[in-house]
Symmetry: C2
Subunit: 428 residues, 2 copies
């Protein structure tokens, strides 16, 4: 961890910049995968899955027997943990559903918005080093609460064709309707365009490597909605002298172990605390199985010493995915946070709590996208359709306004659509 | 208008397909505009504005004197109409702000979401044949209600460097903070990357031609948020025998006059009504100044005769931007609409009402995007940040769950971030 002391505000932008990744080559090779799937459907998905995942699936879809059998392998303790997390995620996300509220903007003019579930959604769950069954909960729970009719899931299998049993358990308890064993850009392409086996979806969710990310970007250009742009995961810990260095070190490491490109930032007004955290990190690192990944990402990370006032502005300028506030006045600081994906307040609110089981969602905007994007919620699985109903009298009350504005915009027929309805009303 | 009678469900997808527009050439030329603005800033914006708009702006930003002077030219009647529309739009959109609701998912674990305004937003208002001051209201009113700090507006000037006074009036009464005279892809590039004169924004809103649309798509790939993907405007009118053919004809024409690529669809279970609407269209067309545009778009449009049950499914399959339900049971049909941008219920609810003054937003998903996207609302101008605060006891209640899940995902440090906080609690 590089220590930066009292940086000038003019240096902040440079200091907080995420590493630039040139993905043009990736976009090009992914475009050819998309084209192949668009043209050749299942056949392309099968051969690309063989090429990239080392297994050629006969049936892309998992049968219910397969799922049931796999689920039996999940240890009872893990099942209970997943169900506990699911319950809390449901409790929090249920509060995001909103009632229809009719508003009479003018007497005789009633307007309202209604949340309607997106019909068909596709969830992508990566394979690789960690079986992210927690992400299944984070996506499928709000999709089910929203009322999506079809919730499909694509995930790569191992070389033996097996999908991790815990992923299947999480999917089977959260309302996922169909599961397909394919991953990477070909899975995104299949969900975007549809194949004989895999239905075309209206919106695609979920994390992935650079190929998956590029595929999501490209299909979005072609009109398929996606959850949000992606980038490496990040945490910023804002800590004062009241913070426990061992807690802070553990939080930084829990982010660093995600991958060598993870972003970790410590912001503090206490130089002694920063030093103690560094010592703690060295000690805790030794016990980690993913030590090398963590070490590499810590190598690119920074500790910034600033005064308290600057600290909050600095954090908002960085717009971290996760922000942990380990300060005595954490509540008051929390009130002043304007750019972050998810905020953890106080010494007993580690990011891990929100990653798994407190109830909040862990699919969050990275890479500074928190300036404009929100994390996944029930909102992500609905459209809000506006409705309006006017009585003849209601229309009469805005008729002149519409006619004058339409004429001034040069849109005669817009004015006429009102006039024709008011023609027996005189002075229109 | 082509008449299609009782089409088979298997033909629907083909029938409802929007025309495919190959924009690869546009994307390429827009990419070079983006590159120029990224590299050369204001200088590039000025020279591109001269090239495409026929006026080289000295100052890109309009001065407050210029704005005040121009506003004096707006007729009082039009000012009153704009203020009336603004009031109704405010009334409807104010209802979209939501309160913070803390949820205790588990005793000792409090989670909530807070809406925080996006700091800096950029509104694009096209020039061209119609001065869209109504769109200024539709974007700036919710931006102001959300609490955005900086609301900038880019719009092309005429060859004389003047921006339409009504656009400036609408901007000045709705909280727009700065106005720049430049349009097209160079305006989008300037807002996406920032120049010496034009600030970099976090999110870009507003309609535009194919160059503007392509620029928005490309900057989105680079992480700048945009309101939604764009396509030609569309209306679908669902009408039964109780509909007044002159009303329906006027509604179809008010969409058709937008441009030759506008999409117009009439769906009815009454063949006689369709015939009467056609006759009415011919009659009303004569009086329109934009007759040629309207005629051209009507040439590509369809009237579909179906039975009542199929009608609703057909409309949902089409996912129109605007849907007018001119039927005796319009309310009941409205309840069954699942894909549409904005729905107009009953014989006295023309699209024009929502385009200008009923209070709903007119920036809506076209091109079938209503299957997954919502129209612009206050939501579009905020992020929803999640917060959580756990007591030590609260964390203790989910500790085992987090630890078991983290271990099963192979993320040791995630488990440790909980364990280190519970180390004096025994069996963790």
């Amino acid at each position: 961890m590089e220590l930066i002391t009292y940086p000038d505000r003019k240096e902040w932008a440079q200091l907080l910049k995420r590493p630039y990744v040139d993905n043009r080559a990736v976009l090009e090779s992914v475009q050819s995968i998309l084209n192949a799937v668009k043209q050749h459907g299942d056949e392309a998905v099968r051969s690309l899955t063989k090429k990239f995942e080392g297994f050629e699936p006969g049936q892309l879809e998992l049968s219910s027997e397969e799922i049931k059998k796999a689920v039996l392998e999940v240890p009872e303790e893990l099942k209970r943990a997943i169900l506990h997390a699911k319950e809390n995620i449901e409790t929090f996300h249920r509060g995001q559903l909103s009632e229809v509220k009719k508003i009479e903007t003018v007497e005789g003019i009633s307007c309202w918005r209604k949340e309607v579930a997106i019909d068909t959604v596709g969830l992508y769950i990566p394979g690789g080093t960690a079986p992210l069954f927690s992400t299944v909960l984070m996506l499928a729970v709000p999709a089910t609460l929203a009322g999506c009719m079809e919730i499909i899931l694509c995930t790569p299998s191992g070389k033996d064709g097996q999908v991790h049993p815990a992923i299947l358990f999480a999917a089977s308890v959260t309302g996922v309707t169909r599961i397909f064993r394919t991953g990477g850009a070909q899975a995104i392409a299949a969900m975007a365009f549809g194949t004989d086996s895999i239905p075309k979806v209206d919106k695609i969710f979920g994390p992935g490597n650079q190929y998956v990310t590029a595929a999501k970007q490209l299909v979005q250009m072609q009109g398929v909605a996606i959850d949000m742009p992606a980038g490496p995961s990040e945490v910023c810990v804002l800590a004062d002298s009241t913070a426990d260095p061992s807690f802070v070190a553990a939080d930084l490491l829990s982010q660093a172990e995600h991958g060598s490109d993870s972003q970790v930032l410590l912001v503090s007004n206490d130089e002694a605390l920063i030093a103690k955290v560094k010592t703690e990190i060295e000690a805790q690192l030794e016990a980690l199985p993913r030590k090398e990944l963590a070490q590499k990402s810590l190598g690119n990370s920074k500790a910034i010493l600033v005064n308290e006032h600057d600290a909050i502005d600095l954090v908002n300028a960085y717009a971290p995915e996760h922000l942990i506030i380990s300060c005595s006045n954490a509540d008051a600081i929390g009130e002043r946070i304007t750019n972050a994906g998810s905020v953890f307040i106080g010494h007993y609110s580690p990011e891990s709590a929100g990653d798994y089981a407190s109830g909040t969602n862990h699919t969050l905007p990275t890479n500074g996208f928190a300036r404009a994007y929100s994390g996944v919620s029930v909102d992500s699985f609905v459209k809000k359709i506006t409705f309006q109903k006017l009585s003849k009298e209601g229309l009469g009350r805005i008729a002149q306004t519409v006619i004058i504005m339409a004429e001034a915009e040069g849109l005669r027929a817009h004015a006429h659509a009102v006039q024709v309805r008011m023609k027996d009303e005189g002075n229109i």
